[in-house]
Symmetry: C2
Subunit: 417 residues, 2 copies
Amino acid sequence: MIDYTIDWMPENGAELEANMNEAFEKIVEERERGISGYYFLPQDSRMIVEEVEATLLPTQTVQEADTVVVIGIGGSSLGAKALDGVLRSITPEAKRMVFLENPDPVEVSEKLESIDPDKSLFCIISKSGGTIETTTLYKIVLDRFGLRPESEHKERLFVITDEGSILHRYAEEHGIKSYFIPHNVGGRFSVLSAVGMVPLTLAGYKTCDILKGAQQIVKAFFDRQADHILQKGVFYAGHWQDYPMNVLFAYGSFLEDFAKWYVQLWGESLGKIDAQGERVGLTPLGHIGSVDQHSFLQLIMEGPRDKTVTFLKVEHFPTEITIPDISLKHIEKNDYINGHSLGELLDGECEATWESIRSQGVPTDGIVLDRISEENLGELILYYELLTSVAGATLGIDTYNQPGVELGKKILVKKFH
Amino acid sequence: MIDYTIDWMPENGAELEANMNEAFEKIVEERERGISGYYFLPQDSRMIVEEVEATLLPTQTVQEADTVVVIGIGGSSLGAKALDGVLRSITPEAKRMVFLENPDPVEVSEKLESIDPDKSLFCIISKSGGTIETTTLYKIVLDRFGLRPESEHKERLFVITDEGSILHRYAEEHGIKSYFIPHNVGGRFSVLSAVGMVPLTLAGYKTCDILKGAQQIVKAFFDRQADHILQKGVFYAGHWQDYPMNVLFAYGSFLEDFAKWYVQLWGESLGKIDAQGERVGLTPLGHIGSVDQHSFLQLIMEGPRDKTVTFLKVEHFPTEITIPDISLKHIEKNDYINGHSLGELLDGECEATWESIRSQGVPTDGIVLDRISEENLGELILYYELLTSVAGATLGIDTYNQPGVELGKKILVKKFH
């Protein structure tokens, strides 16, 4: 269960209502016209999960593997990494996941050292099929481990891409098993497609439950039973010039990759040139509590009033530590925390920080998970995707493209020719 | 060697010159009046390093240890973590470092599992001496490992704090070895004090060389041989309303913790209420290339013109991988990269992204390290501290305090009483 709260005072009722209705209608239209297809993933991806469970999990290759290597970058890795980061704590039996993303020779060398190819499954993920980082890292993996796709090695290779892409055609050439991403689902909205579901299912996560949680909020949203999403998205987009930055303050180190996933989703979707040719956009910032109270809180408290802050927290942790009843001489003032759990301290810090930021008139809101579960994470993913769509619809931009990244790709190719 | 470039056109010469001189004079005054003391650390900390090297490194306890555990948060951990993250690649023989920072029961449980107390050294670091997260995690460590500070266990305990703090008094009570932080050096400016130097020296890093690199840029700055720092700081502060956000785009995954250190330094120093009672501030964002080209580049390229971008890169990596000459059928268009090194690809991505962002009129600048070395990292640390001081002096704020974090601390204590 997730509890959503919005702390700012509701604005003019009739106008807000009209803006919410307008955003809602746009999204219904986007869905009906197939402009974006992520709304259907919670249902459609069940087939993929069931197929992986029925045909791959029982094989000797998968059974004997202890590692799932994801070769992909950006939308092809961030989502699965975020889910692995959070769900690992309740799924200790899941196979280890290694993400080969950044073409950084130091990091890649270290990660390759840790991989035993005979006990690994490799997912090569690229929507377009031609992502330079991904195909390059794949070549390095083939070379380093002597993998020959034309041999029985192909049983440990899985390709996830758009149907008909150059990567799909490569896979067909060698008989490598391929899974497809719907054409109208962009990378940053694709974690609940084969992009996330195949590697996470191979690793042993309960992906069906992730989809179940996601489906619940899709249904609630389109039934107008989750209007808080509309309310928040319309507020953020309507005030983008007052509050150009949105901070996600997530309490728990395991949420670090989730915060990165949010930054990609929000930043790449909502920084655009609008229909009038104006540059508009909201800048996402991901921070982790309580660590970043010692880093970023001062700026939120006393710096310019240019940020909204969302607190994301979990009520009950799967692991707990009781703070021992030790009194350190001269530091007795801190004994008030003895006997409490470490999770209670973290939660207390979140509540105290939230209260102090709210007291400064900063628009705050909260997302409180009762516990870490597959359903909750699925819901959280879809919640943020819907919120992004609402904000984009209100801003009057194309939420789903990313034309600004093409120039750099062209310059790169020229540099090496 | 580090090469610094500024891409934006110089502004009105006489005015710029006057602003740079004014900022410089303020910093000279801050130094002379002892308002901040970090300028002296590169020289003063040599004694600490030499003492640790002479008296601790040869002991059996240190020799047999394979892990240095840092118990600290914010300014007490981020700096050492940043240096460990970067220098590890050229110092593979250094002892493993574990940072106990966040009071997150999931993460702490996992890290405690990985610690063998008989082969570990524990640095308990808190400037005030009473940081609730730090004293709590210390109690958990004492309890979990059955460490008794009154026994010979104290040989593996080290306290780093302000002289006379409650933590110092606690250490004295038990005869635990203490190191001090100068009173006029705040947490986020303290990495070159005992805060960073003691754990890093214990781990086996060449800390003297870090200090040497730092000293070079302090000298250059006060000799007016590094005026690019003044130029950049004055520009950022003078245009804080046009460009309220400063992005550090660092190429290399090993720079991730360095980017976090920068975010703390910049955010906590430069988000303030100024002498006129106005809220002013610059918001730092840390991003890692090339990964975040797939996440944040679109927003920089087409979103509002509200950001400056600094590119940080390394020319030569200590480890390299040659991209094998493999042609993937149907993906031959990517063969242009074959035979190059992975570092060349990363560098090419940096250059291409830099060029594409510059083409949009975004103010960009560059920091290029010829290689990863202790001297370069020491210089980079001090460069950013000086830049922060220049920006703060130009903004007319107190760069070195953090009054905004006190309210949350008070609310926290009340919650548990």
